[in-house]
Symmetry: D2
Subunit: 370 residues, 4 copies
């Protein structure tokens, strides 16, 4: 209930402060017999490591994953999969001056209120972006479950940075590009925007597009736990995210019903995908499409007005080593959260249905259909 667990059947519980001994988590509910490939998890972790390209922090972490349980002879055992990543390059001294003041745009003040005055001021403690490494590790296993159980696959890309939008969307190649850019030709302008922001001691935000392909129809629950509601929960729960839309999203609010409806075609295909692969909160079998708004980093290298723990006026110069934008490092984190949400929905659906079929006419009727 303290919000460090995500999922219903596939449950990821994470731990760790940015400047404590380690961060990590326990993934519970993974079916037995899923091939778990430590290198594969490490590969996903490396995608969010600090120090990539112009927008990255100078903090260096090897982010080496240590698996502690749940895997035997290369297969998941069906038992909890625990892992941790040691914090190596902490330099807490950078934060000594922050023990008494609240950094604007950070969680310092709200945590101070929440925990009755007790606060880990070292780099934000639990509110640090470092916490997301554990999500990426859990998400890597979730992606494997999606692939093994349903052939599902998730791709993600940055489609806008500092207000400069990608002109074309090529998700397939994004992982190899700087900023995980959806458009190879936009990278130069984004580099320019980053340089400009650096010069102005400012930071940048952007937009991320996520796509999940080969997701079976029938995932999601009616009413409160619609698949899009759970996805929004998963994505909005990542620090710096301020907006989530599914399919056409806010644009759909301006369209008419006649143009917004996705017409069904023989065999259960569709003529369009304005809905983003979800109708009435349940997956249709089309690609799941989500777009996420990422606000600029709050740690700007300037002297800022603020208050101290007595509520009195103060000034703060945020030290430490910070990214200039949550992009690109947030991209693999959002991709991991989508994977966790979908793998959980997939495992849950398997329990809600007497037959296992995705589309009834494709398979035998439920054996006890009445």
């Amino acid at each position: 209930m303290a919000g460090n667990t995500f999922g219903r059947i596939l449950r990821l519980t994470t731990f760790g402060e940015s400047h404590g001994a380690a961060i990590g988590g326990i993934l519970d509910g993974c079916p037995a017999g899923i091939p778990i490939d430590e290198e594969n998890i490490q590969r996903e972790l490396d995608l969010r490591k600090p120090g990539q390209g112009l927008a990255g922090t100078a903090r260096r972490e090897s982010d080496t994953l240590h698996l502690l349980s749940g895997v035997f002879e290369g297969l998941s055992e069906g038992t909890p999969i625990a892992f941790y990543i040691a914090n190596e390059d902490q330099r807490s001294r950078d934060y000594g001056n922050l023990s008494d003041v609240f950094r604007p745009g950070h969680a310092d003040f709200s945590y101070f209120c929440k925990y009755g005055g007790i606060r880990d001021y070292r780099g934000g403690g639990r509110s640090s972006g470092r916490e997301t490494a554990a999500r990426v590790a859990g998400g890597a296993i979730a992606k494997k479950i999606l692939a093994v159980e349903a052939g599902g696959e998730i791709t993600a890309a940055c489609v806008e940075l500092g207000g400069i939008a990608a002109q074309k969307i090529d998700l397939a190649g994004a992982q190899g590009r700087p900023y995980f850019a959806a458009d190879p030709e936009i990278v130069d302008s984004w580099n320019e925007a980053v340089r400009k922001a650096k010069g102005e001691a400012d930071t940048l935000g952007g937009l991320v597009l996520l796509r999940a392909a080969h997701v079976p129809s029938g995932l999601g629950e009616p009413v409160f736990d619609k698949l899009d509601a759970v996805i929004a929960h998963a994505l909005m729960g990542v620090g710096a995210v301020k907006g989530v839309e599914i399919g056409d999203g806010f644009a759909a609010a301006r369209a008419g019903g006649a143009s917004n409806n996705d017409v069904l075609l023989p065999g259960g295909k569709f003529a369009s995908n304005h809905a983003g692969g979800i109708a009435g909160g349940i997956s249709t079998g089309q690609d799941i499409l989500a777009r996420v708004a990422v606000r600029p980093i709050a740690s700007i290298p300037r002297l800022q007005q603020t208050i101290d723990r007595r509520g009195e006026r103060a000034e703060v110069l945020v030290g430490g080593r910070h990214d200039l934008s949550a992009i690109p490092r947030i991209v693999p984190v959002l991709s991991a959260m989508l994977a966790l949400a979908l793998a959980d929905a997939l495992l849950l659906q398997k329990r809600m249905q007497k037959s296992q079929c995705a589309i009834p006419w494709q398979e035998e009727r439920p054996r006890n259909g009445g």
Copy 2:
């Protein structure tokens, strides 16, 4: 786990198909001693009743609430509060022709897949907007809890309809206006847009703005259950919602950190509220601000191409009586969901810290602070 329950401490479980005997719910976890006023709940229900203004359906329901438990001598007992609303004006015959075909833009096909071919084709069954009446009833009690325990208050308004945006935002007066319009002077243009859409056998979407005032700081949990994540879950789980943003939302993705940070002022106030009252997923004590994108109604009065339950080509003319837009009726529903999310977060936060204080310097230190 089947997604018909919302909340952790304050839990609303709803039931009912649009054309079954009744809809209703059980609100569990309401503290003892909250004054429960049946008229007050009914008043909230009346706000979403069909048949208000140009955009409304012709279906008539008295939506009379029946309380079955949990209230004694005018106060909540701390036990489950159960209620139901009878379905009176069902006219299922309108739907007989829908038993074999899937309506475009509706949940017909995805439910068919989810439930192994079993589907309540009468007006969408569980996926009908009628289900939301139970949310409004639960939300009315949640609003009372917010008011009694923290003085919290929620207001909501439509800020855009059919692509026509309100020019000024006056939330206070919205409840009394057609479409719960944020701007009294926009109503004529919206009426015009509705008439035009009717003429074209089309439907409309829009945008809703929500504000929660007097919300204590410290609500929300770190990591996965950030307050904004839970709010996004609550709002995206309402049918027809395709996007949610908190504070500046998507606009924040285009701003720089220097302008996006909300500077703290002495006493725990802020110079601005770009964050929408939430920092690091925890409430700051400022107004909570959320904006919601509502897609157009899928039931358009035209012959549409689709497929039948054998997966073969078919045509459908959606009968029944439908709204032309989910606005205005969705506004009290979204307001109820925000209330449920916040009241639950409030009850969960109660004593998460050992002291009761919102801002520690305002009250005594925790009695067992170590």
Copy 3:
């Protein structure tokens, strides 16, 4: 979290005070396509109705079940199944004298403490045995799920009353006998014990034996949610239950390992069932066996010493109409709770492993076994 919901996948949430308008519940998570037979539910309800035999209260309730949702054309829809039972014969006046005093052995005092002084004094309110009718209704559907999905069947009987133990155990015929007696020849001595207790203005307790047959192997979760732990939770949560044992239970504590081990026989059978069908918290495919200790009814027809709501000395004579023993009426309630626990475990286990098989060698290997 307020404890009015039982189950993880199959979730029963109940409501109702003994002297409010109605009691009932919502069963969520029932798979689609289960034949729901209203008469069958009513038949189970009739088994716990007041007024059966010597030990019963004089209160009369028709206990007529009203189904409100979740069933369409004779099959479950996969949506919440809501039901209620009106309270007809309340006679609250019997309880007027109890508004200020706490009845010994009842929940009056502990509820008073829990709810900050607010208490429904009419017949115990939420703590009344009347609440169990909703469990029986939910359990009737759980039994149907067990039967349809796995062929499972539950039988229950009273094996001891007022310290007089049944000499032989015939579970099959128990349902037809007074007291649901396991032994037809014990009934006369139990009648005699009841008469004697009546004469002494006293009440009786007893022991109940439960058996679940044809439960698949593999149900239950390791560690905290072992199948026996969940069953103990389910049974101990019924009012008046003070002890639960699985298989040989307390007798096993006195046995040696050599005699207590159940030897496996070819094909996955066993030479004995000391374990009660559960090893390491997971079902083995043998009969699940549980025994429950039921304390005597606390409402004795005598003047008793107690205190009032100011904490001062008082006397109380408990009026109302009360059973002399929780047996036999508790028997169908315990049977319902066991059914809910097992059906939930069955739905949770469904596809926890990638193959569907109960015993792997009986079926093909998991399709993605690595």
Copy 4:
């Protein structure tokens, strides 16, 4: 849902196989500001270490606890407290011969069924008693929460071993005695029983008594999550436990209501405690009393008949190093589970009540009582 998490507000999630890299857990929901004393946790762990007295295994583990997160400057931060214990002395070779056969009385066969044929045969993997070390670590923090927030204290003792019952019950001194014996004079007879069992290549079971003192009234939830139901869940979820009783337990089933009722005395005290401190599922403020039946260890040093993974007849001689009885090592584990159940109920109750008072007349009325 996979059963590796216990609790609602205070949630312990554990991981680890007996012969994997490590075991450990995450305790989430601990309030901020609780003094966490690593030595204190280690002390509790040392109580269950192997190699104590006649009944213990020869396996040696230092069981050194490593705290990874959630504690800063000696106080809990309100964030997840993660810890692990490395597996040092594994000697998996002892188990090579068990990869194909199922040990009688163990979870080998039921796990094999549950996980579709995938099984960690090294010492029982997840079903090993070694898993309980993580419970003891979590329980140590739960005991601190109980002490700091309510002054609560838990004591436990073995009251019967091999059928030989303690003649007097002295809980206070038990922790210092062999077998955590309730009676100092019984130790010799128990030593004798252990020698005898060893000589006969047999193992022993016993009974454990638990007492929680200074538990506030009002803990526990009505209906399904009664405090005794949650305690039974917690205790029955420990391996080898086959029975749980609260207060007089099975003896209460033979008593009359007149003698079984606990009469209330002025000020909220009681003349007796047959109920074991729980009435109607809610704590009364008296001592919580529970008794647990522990079956004999299944690993007997004899050749046993069984079957192999093809379902065919086989023989097995269980090697490895095993205790002769789960007592005494299970005693601190049961004590930890009771602490986790009570601390969780305490933190949950703080959210369910508008006032914080234990007994209303002792404190001010709820501030919003109507």
